[in-house]
Each structure stands twice: as structure tokens, then as C-alpha cells.
């Protein structure tokens, strides 16, 4: 343990320093308590969310009576109880709101993240780089957690290391050949949107005739592909319109989705040569068979007819909801909205049964569909403690003694549960913190729209919030303006319409983040099916792990894909609790619940739609300069993991 003297100087520094806590949830509550008890006198806390009953098992500053209220506000009030003389300012707002500009961040000596989603983390990372304020980053998932320190010029920033992209599945797996429950659950969520929500061309549920696997010879694929593009994938009217024409009749819907479409799939016989073929369901035949189930309602697995009934009831309820909302209404899927959750549970299970998979309880489906990360109080308590310890090092001017610390589930070979690692210096090629960040992006300039460039590439992939883009064509042609409405007409035009071609360079700015990114365009006609773009140009040893860009495509969205722009209302974006996990030699590996986690990107009503991403930390550790020999008795216990 480093020698930290809590002498008079540090105490003074504590009472005068202003610190910012971003997030008032699991980590945030513990952190606020720790800061106040440690003697921090000036604390600002921000959170856009409201309190949900599922928070109460760990966010101890909240009680049942506070459900529905602002987290930041209630957290402040509860923390003041322990120390009425503390000065706490609470913001019920999104940290991505432009009000919180570089000047705002400069007020603070220290910023501590207590977030649960990558978009916000990226944003705060950039703001702290711009303001040159030290940032303590952290995350937890179940029993696991980690803390790290980010200081411009001295350490890696949050985006120096490529983070694995959210797991996605190819369209044909979802539409034709699901082999795991998660495929069926994703399908069910797409179905919800197609019937009741915002229809999305990337969320097709009908059989995919252009599936390359279905064709007996390559020419056939090409023919099918062009045919489907012209005919709109065997359906000539949208799923929603068709459903409307039947009055959202549950039995008719059932027979189309679980009988007719399955029978169609069966005609694509090549798919079933090496796979177990699906078995269509017939409503009449199933009527009134067993429903079963005992114990906690949520955790029961119903019989097949049980799910048929659940399907029927949920469709009827959702239909009414839609009618109530009026003409042109759309529902947004929310795991905490019972009929929406019922619908996905029923539809997913029916499909699982069709494809010979063991059906799952509503409880399990909710985990996967809602990307829920299990969470307990103690992990957050440990991490919050570590955050303060790192914070004290920073305030004492001892940045060199700061570490990345991992909290494991089981002790490692040296019987340690907490594993510190030396911080890495910034990556020279980082597309955020390098002095002149630059990337190369492969696109088809004839097929990529300006809107896609803005939303998919700049916002989703490169974490910008309000991009401005100009073309380096000698004229400084403005492609995208962050001012609303200014370049709206450009949205549906293609990049090539502006003379953008192979070798073109675009300058993208986010003025709020004080961030400029130079993008080199590499034109290609050979992107994989359903892939819109590919990022190239990172140094070989930092290349992202193979599964990220290449195969997996359809991002699993959840209706409204607008998560890059969280609003200041109580709606919050879908979260993804970002945590890297060390695989200790003794561990079995990541627990199954977090391994199955999948991200979504959408607004949601209440708090706590948590998702998880995990990646093995090993590659990064190997790069780290953890130089201590295994037998080193150094106070800091740095372990060189191999």
C-alpha cells in the first residue's frame, strides 16, 4: 500500500476541492457516502434517471417512498443527513447536455464516473481530456469490478484501447436459422417493433429468401438477392400493415408467424440438410393443452399452450394500447412494461419450441431481452472505496501511485481478490487523445447516406454527440451541421453525391467535446452483407479482437435507436455496464449471466435497464508495464500476469 499521509494539507485540500460524481446509482450512492464521510465538502452529482424498485437492493440512499423521484436529488438529500455541513449540488440531467461544457468541467479538481453506459463514458472521457481534469473511471457487474485513473498525457484515455463492439447476430440467423434462445429473443423484440413500434428495415422477421446458405448454387443467391431487394423480401406490404388489416387478430398473427412462415422456411431445404428442421405450430391443435408451472410466477416455464395464451393476451393488450394512442402511434419496448415483456416472452418461447430449444421462464427471458446485469451492494461498496483511495492519491499529488484495480470473484494464485496494475501511457494511435486523431473508414460511397455517416459512424461508433463535418475538398464544403435543420436536406443523399470518393478526407468536429477527427474514406464495393462500414487503420498490436467488425452485423436494437442523444427527460438510454474482467487461473470464467448480455440502444422509461459487456483483460495486461517480478514483496503487490 502506498504511503499516503492524511496530514493537515490533504484535509484542507479535501474541504476546499470541488468534485463531480457522474451517476447516482449503484456506485454513485456508495461513492457519495464515502466522499461525505471522508470530508469532501463540495460535491456535485448528476444523474438523468429516476428511482426504480429494483434499485433498492443496493442504492441505499433511496427508499421505497422515493420510487419515481430523481436519483441525483434524493441522493443529495440522503447524503446531507450524514453531514449537513457538506455542500452538495444535484442535477437531474444528462451529462451529455451541452450546458456541461469544458468550462463546467474545469470547475472541478476531480471527476468520478459512476456510469453504466459506454456513450456517456466516452463523452466524459473527452470532456475531461479537453478540460485536463483527472478522471476516475469504474464499473461493476455482479461480483466483479474495476477502477482506473485517466489523466491526459499521462495515462491511456478511456478510448485508447478498442472496446469490443456490442454483440450482434446476422440477419439470416435471426430470420431463418436460430440456434440459441437469444436469437429467438432478438427476433421477438424485432417482431414487437414491426407490429407495434417503429418499423426498422434492419429488424426484419420474415424468412430471408436471400440467405446465402439457402441457395444450392451461387447464381441462385444473386438472383434471390436482387429479387428480394426488388420485392421487399417476399412481403409486399409491411408487417404492420398486414397486421392492421387483420385487426391484430392474435390467432391470425400466430398462424402466420408460427405456422405459415415456418412452412415457408421448410421449403428452403438446403438450410435443413445439416440442421434440425423447425416444426410449425397449429393453434387449433394446441388449444387447451397443459399450461403447468409452480413457484414464483416469473420463474415458471409454462407449457406450450401457456405461451399461446400469453401471446394472445399480450397482443390484445398491446393492440388496445396502440388504439388508445391514436393514429400513427408507436409503442416503445420496455422490459418493465408487463404486456411488452409478456409479448416477447411468449413469442420467443414459441419460436424456441419450433426450433427445438428448451423454453425459458419470463425471468430468464427478461434477463436476456432487457440486458439486465445482476448487481449487489457489496461489489459497489468495494469499488466506491477504491475510487476514493485513488482520489486521495490524486489530491495528494501522487499520480504515479495510481493504479488500475480489478476486483475478482475468486482469489488468484497469490490469494488476492484485488489486483492492481500499473497504468499504461496514452496510445499513440488513439483516435481520441492522440494529438491529431485520424481514422480510415471503409464504406461504399454510393450506398452510404449522410444520415448514416452521422448516426452510425460518427455518433454510435465514434462517440460524438453533435458532429459537424466538412469535406476537405479545398472548398470546405459543409456536409453535416450540428445546428438543427441546417443540413437536414443532405441526410438522405449519398456520400458520392458530394463528390466523396476513394481517398477523400472528412473533418469531423464535436465542439462540445473539443474533439476533431480526420476521416479517410476508403471506397469499397465489397463489404459483407449487412455491414455498412468498417474501421481500418489502427496499429496491428492494437487491432480489435476478430469477432468485432467482421461477421456479426445486425445490432440488436430495441425500437428507438436514438440512444446517442439521451434526452434530459426521465427517459434514459439503454445501458451497457462496461467492465473488463481478469481471467484468473482459478476462475471458471465469466458467469453465464453476463456472458449472455447483449446491448441495445434505446430510450427507456425507468432506470435500471442494464446491459453488460465483458472482455478478457488479458491482452491488455500483457501490454502493461507491470514490471515487478512474481516474488516481489513490493507494497503495491503488482503482479505480472502471463
Amino acid at each position: 500500500m502506498g504511503a499516503i499521509r492524511k496530514g493537515g494539507e490533504l484535509v484542507d485540500s479535501l474541504s476546499s476541492s470541488k468534485v463531480l460524481v457522474v451517476g447516482a446509482g449503484g456506485i454513485g450512492c456508495e461513492l457519495l457516502k464515502n466522499l461525505v464521510l471522508t470530508g469532501f465538502k463540495n460535491i456535485e452529482v448528476i444523474d438523468l434517471d429516476t428511482i426504480d424498485v429494483s434499485n433498492l437492493n443496493r442504492q441505499f440512499l433511496f427508499q421505497k417512498k422515493h420510487v419515481g423521484k430523481s436519483k441525483a436529488q434524493v441522493a443529495k438529500e440522503s447524503a446531507l443527513q450524514f453531514c449537513p455541513s457538506a455542500n452538495i449540488v444535484a442535477y437531474h440531467d444528462s451529462i451529455m447536455n451541452p450546458d456541461y461544457n469544458v468550462e463546467f468541467f474545469r470547475k472541478f479538481m476531480l471527476v468520478m464516473n459512476a456510469l453504466d453506459n459506454r456513450a456517456a463514458r466516452n463523452h466524459v472521457n473527452r470532456m475531461c481530456l479537453a478540460a485536463d481534469i483527472p478522471l476516475i473511471e469504474s464499473g461493476t457487474a455482479g461480483y466483479l469490478g474495476q477502477v482506473t485513473v485517466i489523466k491526459k498525457g499521462m495515462t491511456e484515455c478511456y478510448e485508447c484501447q478498442p472496446k469490443p463492439a456490442q454483440k450482434t447476430f446476422p440477419g439470416c440467423t435471426i430470420r431463418n436459422t436460430p440456434s440459441e434462445p437469444i436469437h429467438c429473443i432478438v427476433w421477438a423484440k424485432y417482431l414487437f417493433n414491426q407490429l407495434f413500434g417503429e418499423e426498422d428495415a434492419d429488424q426484419e422477421v420474415s424468412p430471408d429468401t436471400a440467405d446465402p446458405e439457402a441457395a444450392w448454387n451461387p447464381e441462385e443467391t444473386a438472383t434471390r438477392a436482387t429479387a428480394s431487394e426488388k420485392d421487399g423480401d417476399i412481403k409486399r406490404i409491411s408487417t404492420k400493415e398486414w397486421a392492421r388489416s387483420t385487426g391484430y387478430d392474435p390467432v391470425k398473427l400466430f398462424n402466420k408467424l408460427f405456422k405459415d412462415d415456418i412452412m415457408y422456411l421448410l421449403t428452403m431445404d438446403k438450410l435443413w440438410k445439416k440442421r434440425k428442421a423447425p416444426t410449425p405450430l397449429d393453434w387449433q391443435q394446441l388449444e387447451n393443452s397443459e399450461t403447468a408451472g409452480s413457484g414464483l410466477k416469473d420463474q415458471q416455464v409454462l407449457g406450450l399452450w401457456g405461451y399461446c395464451e400469453l401471446f394472445q393476451h399480450s397482443v390484445e393488450t398491446l393492440r388496445s394500447q396502440l388504439q388508445e394512442k391514436g393514429e400513427g402511434a408507436e409503442l416503445v419496448w420496455d422490459k418493465d412494461d408487463p404486456p411488452a415483456m409478456d409479448f416477447v416472452t411468449a413469442a420467443a418461447n414459441l419460436r424456441m419450441h419450433i426450433f427445438s430449444m428448451k423454453m425459458k421462464s419470463r425471468f430468464d427471458v427478461k434477463s436476456m431481452a432487457g440486458n439486465i446485469i445482476p448487481a449487489i451492494a457489496t461489489t459497489n461498496a468495494v469499488i466506491a472505496g477504491l475510487i476514493v483511495l485513488e482520489g486521495l492519491k490524486i489530491l495528494s499529488g501522487e499520480l504515479e501511485s495510481c493504479r488500475t484495480i480489478f476486483l475478482n470473484k475468486c482469489p488468484n494464485l497469490r490469494k488476492k481478490l484485488l489486483v492492481p496494475c500499473v497504468l499504461d501511457p496514452p496510445s499513440a494511435n488513439c483516435y481520441v487523445c492522440a494529438s491529431k486523431p485520424e481514422v480510415t473508414v471503409k464504406v461504399n460511397v454510393h450506398k452510404t447516406m449522410v444520415l448514416s455517416l452521422q448516426d452510425r459512424i460518427l455518433k454510435e461508433r465514434f462517440g460524438m454527440v453533435a458532429p459537424d463535418v466538412q469535406i476537405e475538398d479545398g472548398k470546405g464544403t459543409i456536409l453535416i451541421s450540428s445546428e438543427e435543420g441546417e443540413t437536414e436536406d443532405n441526410n438522405s443523399k449519398f456520400l458520392s453525391d458530394f463528390g466523396i470518393r476513394n481517398g477523400s478526407r472528412l473533418q469531423a468536429d464535436d465542439f462540445l467535446q473539443d474533439y476533431t477527427l480526420l476521416i479517410n474514406i476508403l471506397h469499397t464495393e465489397e463489404l459483407e452483407r449487412d455491414v455498412e462500414f468498417e474501421v481500418v487503420g489502427e496499429a496491428p498490436d492494437k487491432a480489435p479482437p476478430p469477432q468485432t467488425n467482421q461477421e456479426e452485423v445486425n445490432s440488436i436494437t430495441n425500437g428507438n435507436k436514438d440512444s446517442a442523444q439521451p434526452s434530459t427527460s426521465s427517459k434514459a438510454p439503454e445501458e451497457d455496464d462496461d467492465i473488463m474482467i481478469v481471467d484468473s487461473d482459478e476462475e471458471e470464467g465469466v458467469s453465464s449471466s453476463s456472458a449472455a448480455a447483449v446491448s441495445s440502444t434505446t430510450k427507456r422509461k425507468h432506470s435500471d435497464a442494464e446491459t453488460g459487456e465483458t472482455s478478457t483483460k488479458r491482452p491488455r495486461m500483457e501490454q502493461s508495464s507491470a514490471a515487478a517480478s512474481p516474488n516481489d514483496d513490493d507494497d503495491d503487490d503488482i503482479i505480472a500476469l502471463d
Binding site: F82, S179, S592, S593
Partner: protein, 261 residues
Amino acid sequence: MIEKEDPVISEEEAAQYDRQIRLWGLDAQKRLRGSRVLLAGLGGLGAEVAKNLILAGVKGLTLLDHEQVSEDSCRAQFLAPVTAQGQNRAKASLERAQNLNPMVEVHADSDSVEEKPDDFFLQFDAVCLTGCSRDLMVRVDQLCSQHNIKVFCGDVYGYYGYMFCNLGKEHNYVEEKPKVVKPSKDSDDGPEGKKAKVDPTETTMVKKMASFCSLKEALEVDWTSEKARAGLKRTPVDYFLLQGTFTERRSTQELLLLRWS
């Protein structure tokens, strides 16, 4: 000893405990729900333990502390109000502790843990001792392990701290492991073959047993023995420091010299 009288978790509990049930399972939650725990010492450490146990949803938690709230304790712990100076620490912490989770039965007892008779401890499934004397901890540890009561001890000293647990000579538990997918022997399994796999999220429970030593044994290790000397370098310095706070049996200096030699 753990009561499982109420096998059904209510909808309210299911909603509140949802995120932790998803981590440790419904069965574990039921066991927590049936457990009575004793917590001795309501300083900073005790307050944290109280919070964590109450949030987890145990059946009952008894807060035992004969000390009074002092000015220091206001800073150290967040359960006793700043206005409660002079009051008994356990009693002063009761209200906020209870508010953390109304479904837990929280009691406050202002007696000294040293004065409690043996049978007092026997009413609990687990005992947590914070900031207690060595003799008391050894006594309670011995008593509890005879009755299959789990024991946890701990204390903090500035930036240092320790925790000891004794779950018994024969502690039975289960570990959740992912179900192993056996490779298919089917010759038809071509590269495109996407057979309906065994669900990768399925897990299985494996039964295990662990044996714990008593606190007395842990503190009275003969560090001159061959076996102990081998493990000496890997034993944290803290272990030896806390020997110094407990006992004059072997001086801290001697032990540290042994370790560094």
C-alpha cells in the same frame, strides 16, 4: 437452523431483490431470508456490515453495541444521526438501519458483547464481530463452530484492516458451473452445421465442501515450523501487525524479523 418456513418469495420481495436473485439465485435468497444474524460493534465497519446485510434481505439483524455515539463516530458512520451524541450507538443506528429495508427485523441491544452468556449467541445463524477483543473473538469462535454457526470477525486501523471467517470444519456449499457442451460425434457436422446446440447459458450446480480452521489456530501458527516458514513471505504484513494489537505472546518485531529473514 435457517428457517425455511416461508418457501414462497412474495412479489414485492421478487421485485426488490430482482438484481441479486439474478446473481446468486432464488434458493440463496430464500436462505438469506431465513437467517438471523448478530452484528457486534457499530463503528464505521459495523455500519457498513449492517447496511450490506440489511440490503441483502436477511430475516433478522441484531445490532449489539454498548458504546456511545461520540463526535468521531459521526464522521465514521452514517447510521447514527449527528444529533445523537451521547446515545447508545446501537440504538442510535436503529432507525436508519431499519429504513434501509423494512422487510428485515432489525433490533438494537445496548449490552456489552463481553457480558453476553453463551446461549445468547446460539440463537443466530451467523455472528459478525467488529472491533472486539481477541479473547472474546476466540471464545465466540469456538462456541459457534461447535453449533454450526458461521463466524466472521474484522477490524480496521486507518488504512489497514483484516477479516477472518470460520464457516466450520465441514462447510458444504454448491458452485454454479456452465454446462459442458460435449462435441458432436455426428459425421454430418460440416463447417456450416449450426446444430441446435446445448444452451450456452445453462449451468449446473456442483456440490463442494470446505474446511476452516478456528481463530485460535489461525492466530497461534508456529512460524518456526518448516511448513509455516515456506508460506511466510506470502503472508501479508498486516497479519503480523494485528498480532501486535492482540497479544504479547510473540512480539511483532520477532515475527516481522522472521518474515524478512
